[in-house]
């Protein structure tokens, strides 16, 4: 550390240090800024036992996050369940398959609650009144909800074609929505220009280095929930590509702190085929990203020009992992598979992850005997339009036993054999 700071911003490329301020890229070389920590100091302040005694939310890792001296930790985001996926595991002959289920992250049912929780502590610290973001939906919900609770004004920029549930799930918190005629990459470019002009706290523009650190908590939790050990493989959905790099960073920090045994975890990235700039790069064995125009039902992953694409591809290839992508029908099929086998209703991005993981098992890139975690990052109730027309309308029957018996005979195929005559 250049001064007595417990953390500060540092350029990922030229290593220039920038202290703490609301900027996302190096003012010398335009490369991304990363939060660097004073590990000598942090190492003395934290232990696994101490973490284990704290409340089960992401604030239990406070020493490992870029939080101001004082902050409001009243929103218990994070510490979502790590579920053993026995039945889904059976379908790929694995007995050690897990789901990190951020479909039930508090308060808005996606992993974006984590990054926003951290970003808003810094929005307050830097004195912003208005918080903002460009979003494919989940981030919009998270910023709107947490801004309402923390007393910020929120102005949220979204592509015009976003799912209705994600629009409503933003407006209900009183946030101002700005719908943009264009895709996410257009929205994002506009937000960069606005952030350049207006003094607003854009969580994923000028607060981005702090915001992105919130994603590390996914990695900390997985390790802690596995009994302070790392999995062999992890499958992560990729939009901007930040999450996968931050889980990598989290695992590395835990190894450096001596909290887990060293292990080379293989990182696998998942994208929709209709928006796969990072998986295309990985499959071609390169880090450089060629942007695409997104065309997929997985709108939360529809970023054609991913800011961290270069680093995501580098992380994957450097770990010995791989990337796969899933078509729209494969996404819906995988969402159904997850719901029917594990009782987890994920959004389209989760379908992408499950579908990609199945391909990786089939290719032998993930071995069944290894411990593998799939990151489920959002909730299916937000993307119900993916199932439009998929289920028959169930016709009502009269409230009479005889009507039900007839229904059982003619329609209730699944339970007929199991239930008939049981009484």
């Amino acid at each position: 550390m250049s001064t007595n700071l417990r953390y500060e911003l540092r350029c990922r490329e030229c290593q220039t240090r920038w202290g703490n301020q609301p900027i996302s890229f190096c003012q010398n070389c335009f490369a991304p800024l990363e939060v660097a920590y004073d590990w000598d100091r942090i190492r003395k302040e934290i232990s696994k036992d101490e973490i284990g005694r704290r409340a089960t939310n992401l604030w239990r890792y406070k020493e490992l996050l870029p939080l101001p001296e004082t902050y409001d930790a009243s929103t218990p985001a994070g510490f979502t369940p790590l579920l053993k996926a026995a039945k889904l595991g059976e379908s790929v002959r694995s007995r050690s398959l897990y789901l990190k289920n951020d479909a039930v992250c508090f308060p808005t049912l996606s992993f974006k609650d984590r990054v926003v929780a951290v970003a808003l502590t810094q929005a307050r610290n830097f004195g912003f009144d208005v918080v903002s973001c460009s979003s494919t939906g989940n981030l919009a919900n998270a910023v709107a909800a947490q801004a309402a609770r923390a007393g910020f004004k929120a102005c949220i920029f979204i592509p015009a074609d976003l799912e209705p549930a994600k629009v409503l799930g933003t407006q209900v918190y009183g946030a101002q929505i700005v719908r943009i005629d264009g895709n996410y990459d257009h929205v994002n470019r506009l937000c960069s220009q606005i952030a350049d002009k207006h003094r607003w706290g854009f969580v994923n523009v000028n607060l981005r280095p702090y915001y992105a650190e919130g994603s590390k908590t996914v990695g900390y939790e997985i390790a802690e929930q596995l009994g302070w050990r790392l999995p062999d493989n992890i499958v992560v959905p990729m939009a901007g590509g930040s999450l996968i790099t931050k889980i990598y960073k989290a695992f590395k920090e835990l190894i450096d702190l001596g909290f887990v045994e060293e292990k080379q975890v293989k990182f696998f990235g998942a994208q929709a085929t209709g928006c796969s700039p990072i998986s295309a790069a990985v499959k071609a064995g390169r880090n450089e990203i060629e942007p695409q125009k997104p065309q997929t039902i997985a709108r939360s992953l529809a970023i054609g020009n991913p800011a961290d694409g270069f680093y995501a591809a580098k992380t994957i290839l450097g770990s010995g992992g791989w990337a796969e992508d899933a078509t729209d029908p494969e996404i819906v099929e995988a969402m159904t598979l997850l719901a029917e086998n594990e009782g987890v209703f994920t959004e389209t991005a989760g379908g992408v992850t499950v579908a990609a993981a199945r391909k990786l098992y089939a290719q032998g890139r993930i071995r069944p005997d290894e411990t593998t975690v799939l990151c489920i990052t959002g909730n299916g109730l937000k993307t119900t339009d993916a199932f439009t027309g998929k289920f028959d309308t169930v016709e009502p029957i009269p409230p009479k036993l005889v009507a039900f018996e007839q229904f059982l005979e003619t329609q209730f195929t699944g339970a007929r054999a199991a239930g008939k005559g049981a009484a």
Partner: protein, 90 residues
């Protein structure tokens, strides 16, 4: 062809504070040559040693990322070019 180039604030210390500049260029190569010629301190921030546009700089023509238009795209009358740092979003 004269093209209006919008300059992000992080670059303005290299452009005498100008937020936009009318610049001559028929395509991206000649435009960046001309911009870098006029503002020598800006030049190394535009392209790397191999002559490629810097990884963390996005260049838009009107509303379109220039990579979708092709590297040989010829500017048309009224085109506006915007330089934007790529590290945002997600």
């Amino acid at each position: 062809m004269s093209v209006k180039v919008s300059i992000p604030s992080a670059f303005r210390r290299h452009t005498e504070g100008l937020d936009h500049y009318k610049c001559e260029g028929s395509d991206l190569t000649t435009l960046l040559d001309s911009l870098g010629g006029r503002f020598p301190d800006l030049k190394p921030h535009l392209r790397d040693e191999q002559g490629n546009v810097r990884r963390f700089l996005n260049i838009y023509v009107n509303d379109e990322d220039i990579r979708f238009l092709g590297k040989d795209y010829k500017f048309k009358q009224g085109d506006e070019v915007t330089l934007v740092p790529s590290i945002a979003g997600g």
